[in-house]
């Protein structure tokens, strides 16, 4: 059973501001029945441009209802510029925290607010549309690269699993894990580079035996656990000078994004821990090889 705070249970059992505002100035709809949670937020401004009324309807679990309820309380009385400052972390904080796997509920609240404001501006000035910005990365849950960048940036995320907890991306077929990892690396580029610089210094000069051992060790300790988490595996096939030949096993073998994994995970880690000069290649399928002698 989830360890919900009293605050979450209070907002779930006695949700504030349920319903929809009559003649709303902005309406935001996020999520879907298929995803397991969805939220419709509507608001109305008063003469001074402050949110006079904000109401929600939510399909979802206790934390989704509680996040929506808190969201309406947080934005009431605020101007749109002030409301824009509300983050998913604010929602989680008011609730006294959410289980890590439920953080996506707080993100959904923030996204509904953004969608409702976008709707308001598009009606007003024909400004930015309420449609999702960016390109879809996770097709299972319809999450875009912009949305992933945002949760990574605002919550300091560093793993695919965290991204899944915060915005669901990658929680379905897993086909987008490589792309999510790219986005994490992109957003946290500087931080990751800083960490890499602080990583254990690579030995200046390795004997061949040392190099092989270090490659195997890096695969065992740094690469395999991540792949196994997704049902895949990797095997070291051969080392030819600076060319490392590996084979993917399990889920990775059929994975459409295994090329990304190869470059962004395997090669990056081996360069980080062993030698900058290494390149990684997938084992050629012996049956389809044209160069077989």
């Amino acid at each position: 059973m989830w360890d919900y705070t009293d605050k979450v249970m209070d907002h779930f059992l006695n949700p504030r501001n349920v319903g929809s505002v009559d003649n709303p100035d902005g309406v935001g709809e996020v999520g879907s029945l298929a995803c397991g949670d969805a939220l419709t937020l509507s608001f109305k401004l008063d003469a001074s441009g402050r949110i006079a009324d904000a109401r929600f309807k939510t399909f979802g679990c206790a934390s989704a209802v509680a996040s929506s309820s808190v969201l309406t309380e947080l934005i009431r009385g605020k101007t749109l510029d002030e409301a824009r400052q509300v983050t998913n972390q604010d929602i989680a904080r008011v609730l006294g925290g959410l289980p890590e796997q439920k953080m996506h509920c707080s993100v959904m609240g923030q996204e509904a607010l953004e969608a409702a404001m976008a709707d308001y501006y598009s009606k007003r000035k024909g400004g930015p549309s309420a449609e999702k910005k960016g390109n879809i990365v996770c097709t299972c849950f319809g999450v875009t690269d912009d949305e992933i960048r945002k949760v990574v940036r605002e919550n300091g995320l560093s793993t695919v699993e965290q991204v899944t907890n915060y915005c669901k991306a990658g929680g379905g077929c897993g086909g987008c894990h490589g792309r999510i990892l790219e986005l994490i690396t992109e957003v946290q580029g500087e931080a990751v580079q800083a960490r890499a610089a602080a990583a254990p210094k690579r030995p200046a000069k390795l004997t061949n035996i040392q190099k092989i051992q270090l490659i195997q060790q890096t695969i065992n300790e740094q690469i395999r656990p991540a792949l196994r988490a997704d049902g895949g595996d990797i095997e070291l096939i051969d080392i030819d000078g600076n060319k490392v030949i590996v084979a993917f096993r399990g889920m990775c073998a059929q994975c459409k994004v295994s090329e990304f994994t190869m470059k962004d995970v395997v090669e990056a880690r081996l360069r980080e821990y062993v030698s900058e000069e290494l390149t990684v290649e997938a084992e050629k399928n012996p049956d389809s090889s044209e160069h077989k002698s």
Binding site: W2, M9, F12, L13, N14, P15, V18, E29, L33, A34, C35, G36, D37, A38, L39, T40, K57, T58, F59, G60, C61, A62, A64, V65, Q101, K102, F141, T164, K168, G171, G172, G231, D233, R249, G250
Partner: protein, 429 residues
């Protein structure tokens, strides 16, 4: 919404009087206004989650208790003090054999249903090194499904048979998938989520005719429906103590005489060398007693408990709109009701039920921590809209009509309340 109301508790009415220890007091609903929820009373429990685990029968506790205290001998010992424990373990073995309709020497005690499944699958493959294929179904319990999928990484090929919208297997497809390379076929007796019962004897015959070993995970079936292994073609069968009113931590693998399996746990000579490790004596004795009681109550399971389930089903279908039963209603365990409420989410339903002390479970994504709903409902093609709102009530002989009626009274209020919150329900519909 502002009027706070506290709900008083009093003893459960119905056939369970106040002297009955099977559950605590039941909260009482006052009129139909349910804008605020009762404060949860930790004493009030209406337990309808018996496919998850069951209450240990008091007679079972009484039977096992001496073997936790003064009768602590090791059944393998050469002294009378240990030897009398061995006699009691032998008696338990006979009792388990009786409910399965098999020989005592075909009973192998394990630590749980999952260990039994692992032993059956890996133990069979180990003695058939030339066969590299396992056939199973998409709706198995994770104890079988995860074990099989792990084997894929070790070079085995796994064939998972699908089910139709009612959760039924296509037996022709099953037969078609079994080839000369198939070592083992593993098909569950009854599904834990929907209660759908597969035609296991028919499947066992098909598998035997094709020359493969047949295992069935019967964790949900034993004690709920009568079995007789002597006449069938089942080679291996798993059961779990805590699903039939014995404690957690004990299970059984039935191994038909002549079926070869390699031990999963190596160690001493216990269980005829097929499972090392000192026996969980109190657990085994408890399981023996639980099997004896289950046999005595078998008729009740299929009459009174079935009638309770049917009563709840009829009442919910009549009082709640947009709901549907999951799983073939004609071939189902007598105790299981899996029902989907559209447009609302399962975890939210469970938490509101919990406010009344009602224990059930859900196939919704949110309850499991994963993002996708139950693999069983997805395999059946239940639409996501319904899968997310699925609730499983699973009963036992300890449930009463008063409890069923209480749930039937509360459920429409919970459903309506959550639908008031739901953006998918249009006003007036």
């Amino acid at each position: 919404m502002s009027t706070k109301k506290t709900t008083k508790s009093k003893s459960a009415s119905g056939s369970c009087g106040p002297e009955c220890a099977c559950h605590g007091p039941m909260p009482v609903l006052e009129n139909s206004d349910i804008q605020s929820w009762p404060k949860r009373d930790p004493q009030a429990v209406i337990y309808m989650d018996n496919n998850a685990t069951t209450r240990v029968d008091e007679q079972v506790v009484a039977e096992m208790l001496p073997y936790l205290t003064e009768q602590y001998g090791n059944p393998s010992s050469m002294h009378t003090f240990g030897g009398q424990v061995a006699h009691k373990v032998a008696e338990a073995r006979q009792r388990v054999a009786a409910i399965l309709g098999c020989l005592p020497e075909e009973i192998l005690f394990t630590s749980c249903g999952t260990e039994s499944d692992n032993t059956a699958i890996k133990g069979t493959l180990a003695v058939l090194p030339n066969k590299r294929k396992v056939v199973t179904t998409r709706v198995e319990h994770p104890a079988v499904l995860t074990t099989c999928r792990d084997l894929e990484r070790h070079g085995y090929s796994i064939s998972e048979i699908g089910v139709d919208r009612q959760g039924r297997l296509d037996l022709d497809e099953l037969g078609f998938r079994i080839d000369d390379n198939t070592a083992l076929v593993s098909v569950m007796y009854a599904n834990n989520e929907t209660g759908v019962v597969f035609p296991i004897d028919e499947i066992a015959s098909i598998v035997r005719a094709r020359g493969a070993v047949f295992h069935t995970d019967a964790v949900q079936a034993v004690g709920k429906i009568p079995l007789n292994l002597k006449n069938g073609a089942i080679d291996l069968l798993s059961l779990s103590g805590h699903k039939l009113h014995a404690p957690k931590g004990v299970g059984v693998l039935y191994v038909r005489k002549g079926t070869r399996i390699a031990p999963f746990m190596h160690g001493g000579h216990q269980e005829s060398g097929r499972r090392g490790g000192t026996e969980n004596v109190p657990g085994i004795i408890a399981l023996g007693k639980a099997c004896e009681l289950a046999q005595q109550h078998m008729a009740e399971e299929n009459t009174r408990v079935r009638a309770l389930r049917d009563r709840l089903q009829a009442k919910l279908l009549a009082s709640c709109t947009d709901c549907m039963i999951n799983g073939d209603p004609d071939r189902r365990l007598p105790n299981t009701l899996n029902i989907s409420f559209e447009y609302i989410e399962g975890e939210a339903i469970l938490l509101l039920l919990n406010q009344y002390g009602i224990c059930a479970s859900s196939g919704s994504a949110c309850t499991s921590g994963s993002l996708e709903p139950s693999h069983v409902l997805r395999a059946m093609g239940v639409p996501f809209t319904a899968a997310h709102g699925s609730i499983r009530f699973s009963m036992s002989r300890f449930n009463t009509e008063a409890e069923v009626d209480f749930i039937a009274k509360v459920m429409p209020k919970i459903v309506n309340r959550l639908r008031e919150l739901s953006p998918f329900v249009k006003r007036g519909s």
